[in-house]
Symmetry: C2
Subunit: 329 residues, 2 copies
């Protein structure tokens, strides 16, 4: 009966649902350009709806306050644009060809277009954040942008490192994923006028939630159907990125077992070999172990909500924690 308590994203977003269309319009407004190529790429990219998680978190953060100001909508749009810029660049870096069930920008056009349109989105996101006129939000965002990039460079530096430690993996995902999700909640809280202590609780919630979110994302890379997840299965590993399930498996194997995995991965896995690897991950409980880690983070996140009274927004954030460890896409 546990399943019953897992709501859909649409249900979870209910308290802020009425503001999301304004965020969507704001995104296209910010990105309006006379440049036909940019315009084509932008409309293509945003046509495929993502989870809109970052805008939702900004709005949730703000809706703990007495009012939900227009600047929260602007910030929500800006952070989704920033996130999109990083996705477009990430897909070049990971040579991914599928995102949200559509060819990636660098696959449909070319890496050059992906570099520049990513840069353009990046610039426009920062411009929009600046338009909030909130020094705190601007400062938080600029710091986070550097951290996200730093996390991605760290990840790149650790590619094909089969001795990657869990600790380093956690540092990478905290920077590349959790930092931005934390800033979404923090920015929303600042704009909603929350006291600093409560804004910091939400920021920590965002960090823990983000860690769980990324761990589950990495588990999903080894689970489910290709079209269901909307990305290429095993894509991380094919790109040389080691994630928690594999780090755990490697820690459990003897030298011969490790050597076997290394040589297979290095020569590139075909889908049969990928299937074998997934079986091995399951046999050794590496997926379950990772999901358990994700749950530990959602437990810590849940504790941060204890300072808030039992409002629909708090209940949504709690539901989001359940969603993230149960989701299959």
């Amino acid at each position: 009966m546990e399943q019953k308590t897992v709501l859909t994203l649409e249900e979870i977003y209910q308290p802020i649902q009425d503001r999301l269309p304004a965020v969507e319009s704001k995104i296209l407004e910010i990105l309006t350009t006379a440049n036909p190529l940019s315009s084509e790429v932008i409309h293509y990219f945003f046509k495929a709806k993502g989870k809109f998680l970052r805008p939702a978190l900004v709005l949730f953060g703000a809706s703990f306050g007495k009012h939900l100001p227009e600047s929260a909508v602007l910030t929500a749009a800006a952070l989704e644009i920033f996130h999109s810029a990083t996705l477009i660049h990430d897909d070049i870096i990971d040579s991914a060809y599928l995102r949200r069930n559509l060819p990636t920008v660098h696959a449909k056009w070319n890496p050059q277009v992906a570099v520049l349109v990513g840069d353009y989105l990046h610039d426009k996101a920062i411009g929009a954040i600046f338009d909030t006129k909130s020094e705190q939000v601007i400062a938080a965002f600029l710091q986070t942008a550097g951290i996200v990039c730093d996390g991605e460079i760290l990840e790149l530096n650790e590619k094909n490192n089969f001795n990657l430690k869990e600790e380093t993996y956690f540092t990478i995902i905290e920077r590349k994923t959790a930092a931005l999700l934390a800033t979404c909640l923090e920015s929303g809280a600042i704009l909603g006028g929350l006291e600093i202590e409560r804004a910091l609780s939400l920021k920590r919630f965002g960090t823990y939630f983000g860690m769980a979110f990324q761990i589950m994302d990495d588990c999903l890379d080894f689970m489910g159907q290709e079209n269901e997840f909307g990305k290429t299965l095993g894509a991380d590993l094919q790109a040389g990125v080691l994630t928690l399930p594999l780090i755990r498996l490697i820690a459990l194997l003897d030298e011969r077992g490790k050597a076997e995995i290394f040589s297979k991965v290095k020569s590139g896995l075909d889908s049969a070999q990928l299937g074998d690897l997934v079986l091995l991950l399951r046999e050794h409980g590496a997926i379950d172990y990772s999901i358990q880690k994700a749950r530990e983070f959602t437990d810590r996140a849940a504790l941060e909500l204890s300072v808030f009274s039992d409002t629909p927004t708090r209940r949504s954030l709690e539901a989001l924690l359940r969603y993230v460890v149960e989701r299959n896409r």
Copy 2:
């Protein structure tokens, strides 16, 4: 005897020379990171000294004022970092393997590293601009960042377009090159406390200077020795980017001549064919025509200086105009 009036950059920079070391230190200070890969790439990139044109223009702009504030040094560093970020991304886009006589970042490491380190520099530059606390400078910079990117996307969109119009070429170079040089002078002027009218004169000077600078850069792509220019000869064309000399040549050729050029360029030019093309450009006066256009822009730039009294800074900017049309690297 004309040659005598062409000063070296070092001579031209004399009025602001004593502040340049502070800019260099500031760049490395802004980019300090615990990330070993980022740090390695950053030190490698900035070890090869560029012309430092953008920092010099910021300082020149500021030195027309009564004082040269510390924020001008910060802005000079930030704009050089921003420019470096665009160079690192450009080199991916143009598949260039040589910059400042050293392998480019994407050639020495890989395109992935180049994408991310470019993003990192981009973020750090914006953070530094924000630290100036000057709303005008921040707004000018953010607008320009968008314009630069837009110009690059436009250029990319026009790649391999053998019917590219001069007018479109001028729009591209105004955005991708001149806009940032203009913003350097404008930002310096704002921080130096100049009246708005004088700041705008310097901004226009920067635009015209920037147009001339890019036209000459494009001419140099077909001139001189590979190692002297520090870049690959004919690199623009090999990457499908049509610049003024070729646009002019194509305008002068008959249909058969055009068709011949198209087919040669499309199949990739070897160095003998590149040599033939250079001869053809010279025979048709396409290089001279382009240099003449550059001179028209420097003439317009010079006029903008008429509102300033005859100070060492003004004389340096005038010398810079002569330098740009006479330079060979």
